[in-house]
């Protein structure tokens, strides 16, 4: 058996960072990859966020169809408690299960929403798992023991090390001595992941082989200033220039790993490269719950007013504290996480506080009108450029689980959910934040060479991967095979096969779902990992 399709995920990759690096000779392999294949911008779903976006890539469906909306979800449409996402939240087939259902083997490394691991033919090493528990997360059950026999295997640098992530995001002083080792760690982590994938592929290759490198996202969050100094004041200090060099070194390392993986797959394999969203600079902070409070939609609890709720840089860790930060007798709308820019409306069932169902539409419309009036105090520019209702963003069977409103801010940034003296503030320095357009690339025997395609959708990746494997594409997938990326005549001679809706439905057999997580520390640690510093 050989690899038919290699899927390489680059979390948060954007051409605005990669193109200059290719032009500067930092990523010569990537440059040749695009020259020998096709490339396109890849528009993601709303919101442009890791868990829902990667799940859309893996399923070919939007969040209202697959059921993942954020790092956290409300425990139920009427609950105020949140829990961390996991693989049991994915309510439909994935490319892994669909390939498996057609007798193909799959190896997948470091993808989110994969723990508990699906019991598929092949290998699974989930992403977003702490290193100490990696043994419990791998599939099949004896995989971890196999990994330990790989010369040079480093468990600690393969999976998440929360303590190291905390050190980087918590105590960062923007000095090379703090941030530098963290950047190097991510280069080593990508090397470890590549090392494992090469070993497994040599021993027991899979038809569909997939790997996700998430250091790209992390570096762009914390090191945007060093990757794109043109977005802020020039770099002048030695340590600033050193951090730029270290950031570039990470991408040089990544380029080498991409080359190794493509060589491993061989010239007959189709290689698909994709990111879950793009990236760009962010300068503002919209303190959304403070704004809601000042406009009569939210009331802080007495505890919120009497306790230190800022917690220095770790404000994001307070995400689970919303249950005590707000006075639930009076609050009618609130944001519960700083990751998805979602606002929930508290709806009364007739006996509980909140907005009566009969007044919901009017209430929501007024809230949207008010949100559109939030302005930059200096320029008068609107802060909120788009607002999606739940029905617009999340149509589908799981619509009710999404936030009532999702905001898009003028600089693509994220909201703060903490109490603040002001509703809008400036970041001390430019930071990286998610954008809707990421990257797509493909190379293989039937892929056009040197094509720069018009923008594709992240929903197109699953059909593209399935087509490359010869797997029929279920009717219910919301993306399409992008015809323009194939050489002339290929699709005519090899037409896309469709499968009737619901014909796959093998689902992911996994462990029982972990119960709702109210432990604020869990939330805090995961968000620290993200680098969402407010």
């Amino acid at each position: 058996m050989s690899i038919k399709t290699l899927l390489i995920g680059l979390d948060g990759a954007t051409f605005s960072v990669l193109d200059p690096l290719m032009e500067q000779g930092v990523m010569p392999f990537l440059q040749s990859f695009f020259a020998e294949g096709a490339r396109a911008g890849l528009r993601t779903i709303v919101p442009p966020l890791t868990p829902p976006a990667w799940t859309s890539l893996m399923t070919g469906r939007k969040p209202g169809q697959h059921g993942v909306f954020d790092f956290f979800s409300m425990d139920s449409p009427t609950s105020r408690h949140i829990r961390f996402f996991n693989s049991n939240d994915v309510q439909c087939d994935t490319i892994w299960t669909l390939a498996n259902a057609h007798g193909l083997r799959t190896t997948t490394l470091n993808y989110p929403a994969m723990f508990p691991p699906p019991h598929i033919a092949g290998y699974v090493v989930p992403g977003w798992v702490p290193w100490k528990q990696l043994r419990l997360a791998c599939w099949p059950a004896d995989l971890f023991d196999k990994l330990k026999t790989i010369p040079g295997f480093n468990q600690r640098e393969m999976a998440m090390d929360i303590k190291l992530e905390e050190k980087a995001t918590e105590g960062i002083s923007d000095h090379a001595s703090d941030l530098g080792p963290w950047i190097d760690l991510h280069a080593r982590r990508e090397q470890n992941i590549t090392h494992v994938l090469k070993y497994l592929s040599a021993e027991d290759p899979s038809d569909l082989t997939a790997v996700l490198f998430d250091g790209v996202d992390k570096l762009q969050h914390l090191c945007w200033r060093y990757l794109r100094p043109e977005d802020d004041k020039p770099l002048t200090e030695d340590w600033e220039l050193q951090l730029r060099e270290m950031s570039i070194k990470y991408f040089r390392c990544l380029d080498s790993l991409l080359q190794q993986l493509c060589a491993m797959a061989g010239p007959e394999a189709t290689v698909v490269m994709a990111s879950d969203h793009g990236f760009g600079p962010t300068y503002d902070v919209l303190h959304i719950n403070t704004w809601l409070e000042r406009n009569g939609y939210l009331t802080w609890s007495e505890a919120a007013q009497s306790r230190d709720t800022q917690g220095a840089l770790l404000g994001v860790g307070q995400v689970a504290k919303h249950t005590w930060l707000m006075d639930w007798e009076k609050t009618k709308a609130f944001a519960t996480t700083p990751t998805s820019n979602g606002i929930y409306i508290v709806v009364s069932d007739g006996t509980t506080p909140g907005v009566p169902k009969s007044e919901y539409e009017g209430f929501r419309r007024k809230l949207m009108d008010d949100l559109r009036q939030i302005r930059d105090l200096q320029t008068g520019e609107r802060m909120v450029t788009e607002i999606y209702t739940r029905e617009e963003a999340f149509a589908g069977p799981h619509c009710a689980s999404g936030p009532d409103l999702t905001l898009i801010l003028r600089d693509g940034g994220l909201v703060s959910i903490l109490p603040s003296p002001e509703t809008v503030s400036k970041r001390p320095m430019v930071s990286g934040s998610h954008r809707p357009v990421g990257i797509f690339g493909a190379r293989g025997p039937n892929i056009r060479k040197g094509l720069i395609s018009s923008e594709l959708s992240i929903l197109d990746v699953a059909p593209t991967v399935l087509y490359s494997l010869g797997v029929p594409i279920p009717e219910e997938l919301q993306g399409k095979v992008p015809e323009e990326i194939y050489v002339e005549g290929h699709l005519k001679n090899n037409p896309v096969r469709k499968a009737a809706a619901g014909s796959a439905s093998h689902g992911q057999e996994t462990a029982p779902a972990p119960s709702e997580l109210e432990d604020e520390e869990v939330v805090l640690e995961r968000l620290r990992e993200l680098g969402y510093i407010e």
Partner: protein, 104 residues
């Protein structure tokens, strides 16, 4: 047949023994061992372990309540206490709130 508390404890000790061996943790894991202060668990480690326990016993259990209590009261959890918790909830009717959500 319903498992005895001793069998549950044996399973937990065995599983934690395997894990700690991976970390080069020198001390033996005992019923009295504390997950956070002795074994160095982060909260996320506990979440993953709890999920693995549910998978092993194929029974949803209200671990959220346990973890929330630990977080709220800033207390630790011994392996023995964890065995007690599992023992209490094995065979208990599944709570709808923690029932497994399967694709389709």
């Amino acid at each position: 047949m319903r498992l005895k508390r001793g069998e549950i404890l044996d399973y937990l000790l065995h599983k934690l023994g395997e894990l700690t061996e991976d970390w080069d943790y020198a001390e033996p894991v005992r019923s009295e061992s504390l997950l956070f202060h002795e074994l160095g668990f982060e909260s996320l480690d506990a979440v993953v372990l709890c999920t693995a326990i549910q998978e092993h016993f194929q029974t949803p259990m209200p671990f959220a309540e346990l973890l929330a209590d630990i977080g709220q009261n800033q207390r630790d959890l011994s392996v023995g206490e964890l065995a007690d918790f599992v023992n209490t909830h094995l065979g208990a009717p599944a709570d709808a709130a923690v029932a497994t959500r399967r694709p389709q």
